[in-house]
């Protein structure tokens, strides 16, 4: 039995074209893996107060940026050489857009690492770590599932990721309220609490980017754009 790549993107008359598309997918997933690692490390650096790990995350962001440029270049070359159509075109266009989302997740991770470094020098914030770990865990698994949905062209899993985003937003709201209450009670900790607040904000954004990736996967598989559409619409598209 052919592997998934052969079955879906691999049976062109031109073998070179097969390889170019496979390469694009592989490179995207590699970048996805790296960005996932960046995100998890930044959360770990924050929670374990690990300044060294935070520094590593900031250093590795350059690699993420380079991969973004390389994948964009590869995608541009495929368009120039092959004039892809239909599902091939949707793959290439989606990769170009999703790469931007991954790069932004990388940036958010770098931002979290920056606050983690600051906190490791100033001393940890008194509150917010439970929330950061919880939301961090949640968005990391969303990102993971979105990339998994891409790898397997699984629009139903992509839909589940989209649904999770709403829960992340709720968790973010709740965590913000908790921290605000704490800051009102004890103003000495405002500065450090604000750092955690920014971290939560960054994590919430990661959830949005995972959701964008999921929307692109649905576009790739189903050929229909579900961005800015209602959840009912997305469900309808996926169930077709």
């Amino acid at each position: 039995m052919p592997t998934q790549k052969d079955e879906v993107y691999g049976d062109h008359i031109s073998h070179q074209f097969n390889e170019e598309l496979a390469e694009l997918k592989t490179e995207f997933l590699k970048m996805g893996g790296l960005v996932e690692q960046q995100l998890m490390d930044s959360i770990q650096a924050l929670i374990e107060n690990d300044g060294q790990l935070a520094d590593d995350v900031r250093g590795r962001d350059k690699v993420v940026d380079k991969m973004e440029i390389a994948i964009d270049e590869e995608a541009t070359k495929v368009i120039a050489r092959r004039q892809p159509t239909a599902r091939d075109l949707r793959l290439v266009v989606s990769v170009i857009k999703m790469v931007a989302d991954l790069e932004r997740v990388g940036d958010e991770s770098k931002k979290i690492a920056k606050f983690a470094m600051g906190l490791s020098q100033e001393g940890q914030a008194p509150r917010g770590y439970v929330e950061a770990r919880h939301i961090g865990n949640h968005v990391a698994s969303m990102l993971h599932d979105a990339l998994d949905a891409f790898a397997r062209l699984d629009s139903e899993q992509a839909l589940r990721v989209m649904k999770e985003d709403k829960r992340v937003d709720e968790e973010y709201q709740a965590a913000t309220r908790t921290l605000l209450t704490f800051m009102m009670e004890d103003s000495r900790n405002i500065s450090r609490c604000m750092s955690v607040m920014w971290v939560l904000r960054a994590l919430e954004r990661v959830g949005d980017h995972a959701c964008n990736i999921a929307e692109n996967v649905i576009f790739m598989v189903k050929g229909e754009d579900v961005r800015h559409a209602s959840m009912e619409r997305a469900e309808e598209v996926v169930s077709r």
Partner: protein
């Protein structure tokens, strides 16, 4: 913290496994079968210039067109695409009865132009071909002057009473074909001395000189270089304001660039007709997708 680490890392190992079959493909096997006479998409139009139903064409014993039903709307540009031998040119040639000249060719079904039977035995075929003009793959100018090539049709159809009227028709047609500025100083020069792209545009000028309603184009750019092709495509866009244009092309990019709707033929069947944008981004039929993405030819 440990929960975060473990839960994520186990999931990660799952995704790294590349052997997983894609769920979308597993759940819904995509349909490659064709049902006789069935076309997916939007083959019908409200304001139909041509109304074609259950068209079958035979060359002797072999069936070249299998129950095709299609409307072609007024002033639309529709592209016929498909692999060699799929019947797209045969079908095109039915529309001005060019197949009549082939003895073994038989056409069945209902073919109407403006509500009137195309194959009515009383129909004047010469008059029909003036209304439904044709441009061929290779430019085929007459071995005459540029002027006489364009003036030929209007002369035999008696469209001009005076020389000055004929001059106007020739100039107007050459302008519409985007050729006037290149040839206005040498109208008496032989047409065969022009470049290939100019010759093809001259043939288009000759076709539109008799004021047709429909222009059929059978791979009009396959013998032209990219610049001449771009000029002809530009011309198609301009002509579509006043004519219905049906173009057969092997260049999918050309179909994507010039047409409003695209019809995909496969082994004599009309598999899919849809808005061109849809066909090239998210075609409905698996066979259309395989063809336009270069998976078979």
């Amino acid at each position: 913290m440990s929960t975060l680490n473990t839960s994520i890392s186990t999931e990660q190992t799952q995704r790294e496994a590349p052997e997983l079959a894609p769920a979308a493909v597993q759940d819904k096997p995509e349909e490659t079968a064709i049902e006789y006479g069935q076309t997916v998409g939007t083959p019908f139009a409200d304001d139909a210039k041509f109304r074609l139903r259950d068209v079958e064409v035979y060359y002797g014993e072999s069936q070249a067109i299998k129950g095709v039903s299609l409307d072609i709307a007024r002033n639309e540009v529709i592209a016929f695409i498909g692999p060699s031998g799929c019947g797209k040119s045969t079908f095109l040639r039915c529309l001005n009865r060019m197949n009549d000249s082939i003895d073994i060719c038989r056409v069945k079904g209902s073919l109407e132009l403006d509500g009137q039977d195309l194959y009515d035995p009383r129909r004047d075929v010469v008059e029909l071909r003036a209304r439904v003009g044709m441009v061929f793959q290779k430019p085929n100018p007459f071995p005459k002057s540029i002027y006489d090539n364009v003036a030929y049709g209007p002369r035999i159809h008696g469209l001009a009473n005076r020389k000055s009227e004929l001059d106007d028709i020739v100039e107007d047609s050459l302008r519409k074909a985007g050729l006037w500025n290149e040839v206005k100083d040498r109208l008496d020069a032989p047409a065969t001395g022009m470049s290939g792209g100019q010759q093809q545009r001259l043939c288009i000028a000759r076709t539109i000189a008799v004021s047709p309603e429909v222009v059929l184009m059978d791979e009009p750019c396959s013998a032209l270089d990219p610049i001449a092709t771009a000029k002809v495509e530009e011309l198609i866009a301009e002509l579509s304001e006043s004519y219905t244009i049906i173009i057969v092309t092997h260049s999918m990019q050309q179909a994507a660039r010039v047409s409003h709707r695209t019809a995909y033929f496969h082994l004599g069947n009309l598999v899919e007709v849809n808005a061109t944008d849809k066909v090239f981004t998210a075609p409905e039929h698996k066979l259309t997708e395989s063809y336009i993405t270069g998976r078979f030819g």
